[in-house]
C-alpha cells in the first residue's frame, strides 16, 4: 500500500498537503471521544469551562472499543459513525482541533467549519477493529472516567491506517470517489 505518513498533533504546515482520497498512516497521539464525551465537552464550553485537554492541533478518534482482554492494550477499536458528533464539532474546531478520525458523512456545517479553521477529516475502515487495535501502542484515560469505554483516552498510535475524506479545502472524497466510479459503470 502506498500511503503518506502523518504525525499527530498535526502540523499546520503539512495540513494543506493532505488531499481528499490520500491513503495515510497516522503516528503520534490521538484522543478518543464519542457521543457522551462530546456532550460533556460541549456542556463545559457552554459553561465557560476549559476542555479536559489542550485541543490545539490535536486529533480526535470517534471510537468505543471493546473491553481489553487480559494482556491486551485495547480491545477491538474501529471507528464509529462520525455524523453523530456533527452537532458538537464546529465548537471544537473553533478551539483548534485539527484532525478527526471516524467513518461516514459529515454535515455541511462541519465541512464549512473545517474550511474556515483548516482541519482534516480521516476515515478509518469501519469494521476492521481487530486490525486497527494493532496500531494502538498505549492507552491512558484522561477525563470522564465514569463513562467507561466512552471516556476520553489518550492513545499512542503507530501507522494507523486511514484515508483523507474531507481536506482543508472542503473536498469530500465520498462524493468525488463515488462519482468517479459511477461514471465508469455508466460507460
Amino acid at each position: 500500500m502506498c500511503a503518506n505518513k502523518v504525525s499527530s498533533p498535526i502540523d499546520e504546515q503539512v495540513l494543506p498537503s493532505l488531499k481528499a482520497g490520500d491513503r495515510v498512516l497516522i503516528s503520534g497521539t490521538i484522543y478518543t471521544a464519542r457521543d457522551a464525551a462530546h456532550k460533556r465537552m460541549s456542556e463545559a464550553l457552554q459553561k465557560g469551562e476549559d476542555l479536559p485537554f489542550n485541543i490545539k492541533g490535536q486529533t480526535i478518534y470517534y471510537v468505543g472499543p471493546t473491553p481489553a482482554k487480559p494482556g491486551q492494550i485495547i480491545g477491538s477499536a474501529g471507528p464509529t459513525t462520525s455524523g453523530r458528533m456533527d452537532k458538537y464539532t464546529p465548537s471544537l474546531l473553533d478551539r483548534g482541533l485539527k484532525g478527526m478520525i471516524g467513518k461516514g458523512y459529515r454535515s455541511q456545517e462541519v465541512i464549512d467549519s473545517m474550511k474556515k479553521n483548516k482541519a482534516v477529516y480521516f476515515a478509518a475502515i469501519g469494521g476492521s477493529g481487530a486490525l486497527i487495535a494493532r496500531s494502538i501502542k498505549s492507552m491512558e484515560v484522561i477525563a470522564y472516567e465514569d463513562l467507561g469505554p466512552e471516556a476520553i483516552y489518550k492513545l499512542t498510535v503507530e501507522n494507523f491506517p486511514a484515508v483523507v475524506i474531507i481536506d482543508n479545502e472542503g473536498t469530500d472524497w465520498y462524493q468525488v470517489g463515488k462519482e468517479q466510479f459511477k461514471k465508469q459503470a455508466d460507460q
Binding site: 472499543p65 467513518k103 476515515a123 481487530a130 469505554p149 466510479f181 459511477k182
Partner: protein, 281 residues
C-alpha cells in the same frame, strides 16, 4: 416428547455469541475474495484486503472483528413437540448472551431507555428474540450480532400498489445510496416485500440470515436479487463508500402476501461484518 434444558440453551447461546463475533462466516470471506478480483479501485482493493486480514486476526486471536459487537438478534425455530425444562426460553437466551458477551470481552451496547439513554444492567441484553413454532421436536437457534451503523441506515416504506416493481427497485437503490459510507459497505442488502407494517421489517431481517450466494427459491425473486445487486454495484459507492464497484456483496429478498391496498417494502442493511451463527438442539 423431547426435553431440552434451560442450561443447555444458555451454554450454546453463550458460545455462538462469541463465535459470531470472532469467526466471520466462510461465505463472507469468500465474497471478499471474489470482490477483490473484480474491484477496480485501488483504495477499494486495499480495504478488501484489510477486511480479509482483520477477519484472520479476529479468528486466530479470538477477538471481535468489529468493536460494535451489536444487538443480538435471534430467530428461533421451536419444534412444537419439544419441552424446555428449567425456565423460559427467553430468559435462557438472554442469560446466554450476557454470559457470552461478558466472558468473551464483547462490548455491552444496549441502553434500557431509548430516551434517557440509561444503560441496561444486563450485559448487552435484552436481545431481540423472534420465535417461530414449527413441526418436530428440535430447536434451531439462528443468531446475528447486528451492528448499529448499518441498522441505522435501514428503512421501511408503505408504497402504493401502483408504484409496482419500478417503485420497489427505486426505493431499494435510494436507500443504499443514502446510506453511502455510514453502513460500512460492502453491504448485504436484505429486502422484505409484502406482509404488513411490522411483518415487512421482519422479512427483511430474516432474509439476512440466508448465507451469501444462496438465491431465493422463487425464480422471479432470484432473478430480481441478481439484477438489484448489479444495479447497486453501479452506484459507485464502493468499499467503505470511498468509490468502487463493490457496494453490495449480496441482495436477499423475502416476500409475503399483503392487503389489496398495500405494498410495504423494507430494506434492512447489513454491513460486511455479517455475523450469523446457527445451532441445532
Amino acid at each position: 416428547m423431547r426435553t431440552i434444558t434451560y442450561k443447555e440453551i444458555v451454554e450454546r447461546v453463550s458460545k455462538m455469541c462469541q463465535e459470531a463475533n470472532f469467526d466471520l462466516g466462510q461465505d463472507v470471506v469468500e465474497a471478499f475474495q471474489s470482490a477483490l478480483k473484480n474491484e477496480s479501485s485501488e483504495t477499494g482493493k486495499d480495504i478488501l484486503e484489510q477486511l480479509i486480514l482483520n477477519a484472520d486476526i479476529a479468528k486466530s486471536e479470538r477477538v471481535p472483528m468489529c468493536q460494535d459487537t451489536g444487538v443480538s438478534v435471534f430467530i428461533v425455530e421451536v419444534g412444537q413437540d419439544c419441552h424446555i425444562a428449567g425456565g423460559s426460553i427467553y430468559n435462557a437466551i438472554n442469560e446466554g448472551v450476557k454470559k457470552g458477551y461478558e466472558e468473551g470481552y464483547l462490548r455491552h451496547s444496549i441502553v434500557d431507555h431509548p430516551i434517557t439513554r440509561e444503560k441496561s444492567k444486563g450485559y448487552n441484553t435484552p436481545s431481540i428474540i423472534h420465535i417461530e413454532l414449527v413441526p418436530g421436536d428440535e430447536i434451531v437457534i439462528h443468531m446475528s450480532a447486528k451492528g448499529g451503523g448499518s441498522e441505522n441506515m435501514s428503512s421501511l416504506k408503505m408504497l402504493k400498489p401502483s408504484d409496482g416493481l419500478e417503485g420497489i427497485k427505486k426505493y431499494i437503490l435510494d436507500t443504499v445510496a443514502m446510506a453511502g459510507p455510514n453502513a460500512c459497505p460492502p453491504l448485504v442488502v436484505g429486502v422484505g416485500i409484502g406482509g404488513n407494517f411490522e411483518r415487512c421489517a421482519y422479512l427483511a431481517k430474516k432474509s439476512l440470515f440466508r448465507p451469501i450466494g444462496h438465491r431465493s427459491e422463487r425464480p422471479e425473486l432470484a432473478q430480481l436479487e441478481i439484477e438489484l445487486m448489479e444495479e447497486i454495484n453501479k452506484l459507485g459507492i464502493g468499499p467503505q463508500g470511498m468509490g468502487g464497484n463493490t457496494t453490495a456483496l449480496d441482495v436477499k429478498i423475502e416476500i409475503e402476501p399483503c392487503h389489496i391496498a398495500a405494498l410495504p417494502v423494507s430494506v434492512n442493511l447489513n454491513c460486511h461484518a455479517s455475523r450469523h451463527k446457527e445451532v441445532r438442539l
